[in-house]
């Protein structure tokens, strides 16, 4: 390169760099407005990270579908509120009834509903959708079989080969209804990305880009008055972490989000427009690989050890230090008292000891033959009471719980080592049964009914030998009495009869304690009331308020209204 060319090259780069600097300087007064043309736009953050991939297929369950597909763009027949005890709310269905032996479900569908492309919604669409799930095993997460027929424009009959009362919330409350005239032409519904969604929901798609998409009010929505959407636009954004979400909330750029923020009470105090709701979510517990007969190894296979941990922990300290006091007391029945209090049969099981009872823990261990050694820890048959608990690194509340538990169990002669692992390894250890204790939570199923919790977490049919994959019952718990009672619950839809069975189950798990409950983990949701009001409150949980919750989302979005005018 000759000298003059070189000089030119350097000069050009300098010029380019200078130009870039000038450009950035000029644009640094970038305006940030949140309304377009006077119409109210609210912004919500549902935990999405990175770029959005356009996919509005409401039939999927892989999480690849953008979350408003389920509940906001498309609707179910009924809505099941997980936040409080409440009857299913009619959405696209208006009534349903079972025959006596639970093999036939008759559904009345709503009339006067149209799809966003103007075609009428009828019972034929409903029958088509149910058959679509049936024909595609990849979409049918229930694994059950049925036939669906529309007997007239407003009635659909589902017929099952055996008693199927327990399928009700999955079918009615967890399956999005799609239009037959569009989906009958789609060859493989599981691979469909459905980029121009046609649904019945309160909102429809307005614009999409990889970093944000906007829904706008559906002018032909079936609901009127309180049931009609009132806020014009809803914008979805993605952020990488809770710090960015906190910034967004404090600067007033987000109207609805659900993140655990330890300093939430302070933030609310400083910003009068903000409010929050604390909703019972799941029961945080220590899962024990409890069943030696199915291959679990370690001291925790002795029920006395699990009982001792139950008594030795100081739940008040765990609540204040791990989750800033946001948790609520759980029940020994593994149910959330504020949602399922009526289904806890023996009131003795409705609460948990909130402080440590070391003497009781020790006496339980000694009664089971454990001997206190010179080093302050119990042992039995040469085996020291030395346990390890798995917890996901970075789940700070769980990590704090484990560190505290280590100290709390020591006075009771129980040695606990904390094993912080990545989420993949943690979940694999649980599923394959290669763990001793693991910190996790007990999540509700398709409806608040205790059946789903007990069936998922306790029934023998949902477990497997250690070394094989267990579906949901990772503690390897197996008890014929409990299995029989669960089966009995499924055979009826009479709440009184079911409650008797729940009593039987609860008596067994309080004794066996395969899951040691700690507290009810609360989901925190934050709202900004300056652009829209009518959000769920602590006293009026008309829906589970988290923005990431499918189906509930649509219920909340049609309940809120613009703050002014």
């Amino acid at each position: 390169m000759s000298l003059s060319k070189k000089r030119l090259f350097l000069g050009a780069t300098a010029l380019a760099a200078a130009a870039a600097l000038v450009l950035t300087g000029c644009s640094s007064d970038g305006s940030s407005g949140n309304s377009s043309g006077g119409a109210t736009t609210i912004t919500l953050f549902n935990g999405s990270v990175g770029n959005f991939t356009e996919n509005f297929n409401p039939l999927l369950s892989t999480g690849a579908e953008l979350q408003p597909s389920q509940g906001v763009l498309y609707e179910t027949l009924f809505y099941y509120n997980m936040a409080r005890a409440q009857k299913p709310v009619p959405v696209l269905g208006t009534a349903y009834s079972w025959n006596a032996d639970g093999t036939q479900l008759t559904i009345t569908t709503r009339s006067g509903v149209t799809w966003t492309d103007g075609q009428p919604f009828t019972a034929k669409d409903v029958a088509f959708t149910f058959t679509l799930f049936q024909k595609n095993p990849g979409l049918n997460t229930t694994g059950a079989t049925w036939t669906a027929t529309a007997t007239n424009d407003n009635t659909v009959v589902l017929t099952f080969p055996s008693t199927s009362f327990t399928l009700e919330p999955q079918l009615l409350g967890n399956m999005a209804m799609v239009p037959e005239h569009i989906w009958s032409k789609i060859a493989d519904p599981a691979k469909e990305t459905n980029t121009s969604p046609v649904g019945t929901g309160p909102y429809k798609l307005k614009s999409f880009s990889a970093q944000s998409y906007v829904l706008t009010r559906n002018p032909t929505y079936w609901g009127t008055g309180d049931e009609a959407p009132k806020v014009e636009n809803v914008r979805y954004i993605s952020l990488a972490n809770a710090d960015a979400a906190t910034s967004a909330l404090e600067s007033g750029q987000i109207d609805w989000m659900g993140s655990y923020l330890p300093t939430l009470k302070n933030i609310i105090k400083q910003h009068p427009n903000l409010s929050y709701v604390n909703t019972p979510d799941s029961v945080t517990d220590i899962v024990a690989c409890s069943n030696a007969a199915l291959g679990c190894t370690g001291p925790q296979t002795d029920p006395a050890v699990r009982q001792a941990i139950y008594y030795a922990m100081d739940r008040t300290q765990l609540n204040t230090q791990a989750v800033a006091g946001f948790a609520e007391p759980a029940s020994a029945a593994l149910l959330v008292p504020s949602v399922n209090g009526d289904n806890i049969v023996d009131q003795a099981n409705a609460s948990l000891p909130q402080t440590a009872d070391v003497a009781k823990a020790k006496s339980v261990l000694e009664a089971a033959g454990w001997k206190l050694g010179g080093n302050g820890y119990y042992s039995k048959g040469g085996q020291e009471l030395d346990l390890s608990v798995n917890v996901v690194t970075g789940w700070t509340d769980y990590d704090t719980d484990c560190t505290l538990l280590q100290g709390q169990l020591k006075p009771a002669g129980i040695k606990l080592s904390v094993n912080q692992v990545a989420q993949n390894a943690w979940s694999q250890a649980e599923v394959s049964g290669k763990f001793q204790l693991s910190l996790n939570s007990i999540n509700p199923g398709a409806s608040p009914s205790p059946y789903f919790i007990y069936n998922n977490y306790l029934s023998t049919s949902n477990t497997a030998k250690a070394g094989e994959s267990a579906t949901t019952n990772v503690s390897r718990y197996s008890n014929p009495t409990v299995d029989a009672a669960i089966k009995d619950v499924a055979s009826t839809n009479d709440p009184a009869k079911q409650k008797v069975d729940y009593g039987v189950i609860q008596a067994q798990i309080v004794k066996d304690m395969p899951y040691i409950p700690i507290y009810v983990n609360q989901a925190l949701t934050q709202f900004n009331n300056s652009r829209a009001t009518g959000w769920p409150t602590q006293d009026n949980l008309y829906a589970f308020p988290e923005p990431w919750k499918a189906w509930d989302n649509g219920i909340v979005l049609k309940a809120i209204r613009p703050a002014k005018g």
Partner: protein, 330 residues
Amino acid sequence: MRFYLQKVLFYVVALWFAVTLNFLIPRLMPGNPVDVLISKMGAAGQPVTPATRKALEIQLGTGGGGNWFGQYGQYLNDLIHGNLGVSLVNYPATVTHVIGQALPWTIALIGLSTVIAFLLGVGLGMFAGWRRGSWLDNLIPATTVLQAVPYFWLALILVLFLTRWHQWFPYAGGYDVASTMPGVSLRFVGSAIYYGFLPACTIVISSIGGWMLGMRNMMVATLSEDYVVAAEAKGLRPRRVRLTYAARNAVLPSLSGFAISLGFVVAGSIVTEQVFSYPGVGQLLWTSVSNNDYALMQGIFLVISLSVLAANLIVDLLYALIDPRTRARA
């Protein structure tokens, strides 16, 4: 000619090695995508039953898959056809599509700031070496201190000062989603530059010290060479001596370092993109790893290894042009 053939052969072997490692590493990770998905669904309050696992395995096609040899053959075959597979997290979107969405952001942000840091660092280093003991020379310890400070800490401090205490810059995102849409418009480009300014600053601040120090030291060494003394003795203008005699020779080691860092540009910076919620490849890599999305991980690793190899190849070839000595010796 032999020199170029040797180079190309070496890169073909390196490429095969990278591609094979890329196949193996994700498979050595614990867990599988269905388990991760099920625990997420449970946490999001969606019903999970034994049939759910089966349905998800069918949906994601992870049930069978044959042995590793079969998978390896399939993988190579797909690669040749440019098919990187389907991303599990974004099913049924293809890996190519998902990476394509993130790549421009990363290349623009990390690429530009790497180039700016290099040009500024080398330029300042040149002057610092030329005038040893001047104020510019004393700046070097300060910049190396900035480089020694943990990057995430520096970035978080800047975020706290400049986006929270003084709201001069946006705290997250690639552009203002409320006022503009991606496209060729002044408004979008302006917004993207404004949003990228702070993350770019942190990268420049934290990497400029290395370039400056390296260039300054090479400059000092080169200035004591006989040919520089000869040039000065000939009475050439200082500017000419500085640029064509000293700097041209002193910049060579920095140039190969620059090639390597350019290759890593597409890897993005996981930390930068996490701190600033920037929608690039680093964040995508993070998501794919935490969801056991093998196909996406492989795709990203492949793009990274390819660009590192390509950057090295180009510099190897360029080097032979700039510095004839390397060509002669080969």
